[in-house]
């Protein structure tokens, strides 16, 4: 098999056009609008990059969800990375996009120009090599991501322990998908006014379910009558996912379905999940930028591993930093507004100078609108 076999047929123009036609036909039988939240920034990116909005009938809309781990990182935690990177004898490692996100002091790129040793890695396990090559330095892994990347961080810690490496530390920012979906639908009392969500269905990210299975979404049809289709990231995947959702509404059958059958099962990857649970426990609260504190929505290292936890070892600021008052990212993430409705979009807030969370990473809704436009 060649690499192209993995993606080419999922970008096939004929298939995409055929699916668009089928969606239009089926959606015309519905006498209502459907707002589909694509939870993951990867889906937002696909939708905008391939112009899929332009192929959908008027009664099918997308609401761009909060599933970009870089975008939802609150400023205070980016500040942690900045502070840690500038400590003496520290190499701070993280994943690509994190490096350019500005905190209140600046981005990790700025820290690097002030002399910090900041490196981006493609895989958390690359940290092992860096740690071995620099035995006299502390190598801090600033871990981000959803269920997809969490097992890799766990595997890194397992290796660090097995190899008895003394110079690797962690700053854990792993977050979870179902909790934020529930938060968006099931608003808590104090926010009831602003939580008037418009979400009719969810498109779930396939890579999360490769690890966690499709079962994590079962509460949404059962408790909230919202269909969930777990879909892949190619344009054909997304279009097929939309078609499956439309058909659920037509048949009045609300359930969890898997579009991405090539590697998602109901139970997911049990070994990977065991790894997560061996090293991590849920935080009581975790602040999501633009959304506020969400219970049980993130992981931290278990107490027995606190010797690896920079949040336990160092004094790091705990005060919460408010989002910019003109920014409407919270409303965008809840599906109340589109990026273009924001008064600072594209003017005071651009990818090179983002004010709000949705503009900071290439997977954020505002950044995708800015980059690709929403052409007719």
């Amino acid at each position: 098999m060649e690499l192209k076999d993995l993606y080419e047929k999922f970008r096939d123009p004929k298939t995409i056009k055929a699916l668009a036609k089928e969606i239009e036909k089926e959606a015309s039988k519905l006498n209502r609008d459907i707002n589909i939240m694509e939870v993951c920034g990867g889906h937002t990116h696909t939708i905008m990059k391939y112009g899929l909005l332009q192929l959908l009938p008027k009664n099918i809309n997308f609401i761009h969800g909060p599933g970009c781990p870089v975008c939802i990182m609150p400023k205070e935690r980016i500040d942690h990375a900045y502070i840690l990177s500038l400590k003496e004898n520290v190499i701070l490692c993280t994943l690509g996009d994190m490096i350019k996100v500005p905190g209140s002091y600046g981005s990790l790129q700025n820290a690097r120009s002030r002399g910090a040793d900041v490196r981006f890695v493609y895989s958390p396990l690359d940290v092992l090599k860096i740690a071995k090559e620099n035995p006299n330095k502390k190598v801090i892994f600033f871990a981000i991501g959803f269920e997809t990347t969490t097992p890799m961080t766990a595997a890194l810690l397992q290796n660090v322990i097995n190899l008895n490496l003394k110079n690797v530390l962690f700053h854990i920012n792993h977050v979870t998908v179902p909790e934020v979906m529930r938060e968006l639908i099931d608003s808590r009392d104090e926010h009831i006014d602003s939580y008037n969500n418009q979400i009719d269905a969810f498109l779930g990210p396939s890579h999360v379910s490769v690890i966690a299975g499709s079962k994590i979404y079962e509460e949404f049809p059962q408790k909230y009558s919202r269909p969930v289709v777990v879909a892949g990231f190619e344009p054909v995947d997304v279009m097929e996912g939309v078609l499956m959702i439309v058909r659920q509404f037509l048949k009045e059958e609300i359930k969890v379905e898997i579009q991405y059958k090539r590697s998602v099962t109901r139970d997911g990857n049990k070994r990977a999940w065991e790894m997560i649970e061996r090293y991590f426990k849920k935080r009581d609260l975790f602040k999501w930028r633009g959304l506020g504190n969400i219970p049980k929505s993130a992981w931290q290292l278990k107490d027995e591993f606190e010797r690896f936890d920079t949040e336990k070892i160092y004094e790091l600021p705990k005060e919460e930093i408010e989002d910019h008052k003109l920014c409407i990212c919270g409303d965008i993430l809840r599906g109340m507004a589109k990026p273009t409705e924001c008064q600072v979009f594209g003017s005071a807030c651009t990818p090179s100078k983002p004010l709000g969370s949705c503009m900071v990473s290439s997977e954020g809704a505002c950044a995708a609108y800015y980059k690709y436009g929403n052409l007719i």
Partner: protein, 330 residues
């Protein structure tokens, strides 16, 4: 033991002369260098064009080229894009102490070869050796003087003009990234590093009405098109499927999450011609590289923007690349 370059070889004295004589002059020598004192007398050139570029690439040897070929081709290509025939080059080396003499010679050899492709000569130069760690192996600066034979200018671009590419894109950037990340593919991928003057000369000789040429180096095809669109307040509408990208490059982009349009090329240019010349231009470009293609046209729909059209009739902007973390690729 392998012979290496020492600090004393940059001292201006005996060892320095030896290095020049045994290596640089042996490969690149000519009457200008022979007669040079503190400077070189060049005589008169009618429409003189002058350019300079520095090269710091890592790795210095890569599939399809090396820092020597890259530096000569790179500087000469800047001239060629101006419609200028490359004539005279200056050559400045900054070399890290301990650099292998054999590698140095290998670099000189590929420079010699590339100079002959362009019909240009090195007329002056300098060599500095710096202590270990003060630079990464070898840096090269090349300045070049050319004789302008055709007046290409982006100011001539008008609505209705056609946009062509001289080959498939993103090979150089993808090759460098693949070698850094240690990605091995079944079919080796090669940089497109090459001198473009012979192709440009053919366009001039055939009297093609070329509006503008630009080699799509750092920032790739996206940067070239966006610069033209913004500077001239025009819209470039590009058909994505017409832009040739090799399977290997596509693979690297999938693995590393890159957009081929922003990856660097070192021997591929974007060309805007009057629409009456599009077919003949394509024929000429194809005689040098079969992957050349007509990719789109100039319109006025979204002024200052580049639009990509998909095969399923949707459209999106292709934005100016920005803020990427790009390692040294040239």
């Amino acid at each position: 033991m392998q012979k290496v370059i020492t600090l004393s070889m940059g001292n201006g004295g005996l060892e320095n002369r030896e290095l020049l004589k045994k290596f640089v002059f042996r490969h690149l020598g000519n009457s200008f260098l022979k007669d040079a004192e503190d400077g070189t007398v060049l005589g008169e050139i009618e429409n003189l064009v002058f350019t300079t570029d520095s090269f710091t690439i890592n790795p210095i040897f890569f599939k399809g080229g090396d820092i020597g070929k890259l530096s000569v081709a790179g500087a000469c290509n800047d001239l060629a894009m101006m419609g200028s025939e490359p004539k005279f080059l200056s050559l400045s080396f900054i070399i890290e102490e301990g650099f292998s003499l054999r590698d140095f010679e290998r670099i000189l050899r590929s420079m010699k070869k590339e100079l002959s492709v362009n019909g240009a000569v090195v007329v002056t130069g300098d060599t500095k050796v710096v202590p270990k760690g003060a630079c990464d192996k070898i840096y090269i600066n090349v300045s070049a003087i050319g004789n302008r034979l055709a007046n290409f200018s982006q100011k001539n671009i008008k609505e209705g003009d056609k946009v062509l590419l001289s080959g498939d894109i993103a090979r150089h950037g993808a090759t460098i990234f693949a070698s850094r990340e240690g990605i091995e593919l079944e079919n080796e991928i090669e940089s497109d590093c090459r001198s473009l003057w012979p192709i440009v000369k053919a366009l001039i000789d055939e009297k093609i009405f070329v509006k503008a040429l630009r080699d799509a180096t750092r920032g790739g095809v996206a940067a070239v098109l966006n610069e033209w669109a913004k500077d001239e307040n025009l819209c470039f509408e590009i058909e994505e499927a017409k832009v040739n990208i090799s399977l290997e490059v596509k693979g690297i982009c999938e693995i590393l999450g890159f957009e081929p349009f922003v990856l660097a090329n070192e021997g591929t240019f974007v060309c805007v011609v009057d629409r009456k010349d599009e077919k003949r231009t394509l024929e000429i470009l194809k005689s040098f590289n079969e992957n050349a293609s007509i990719i789109g046209e100039v319109t006025k729909e979204y002024m200052g923007r580049v639009i990509l059209k998909t095969e399923w009739k949707t459209r999106r902007f292709l934005d100016m690349p920005s803020g990427e973390i790009l390692p040294r690729i040239c």
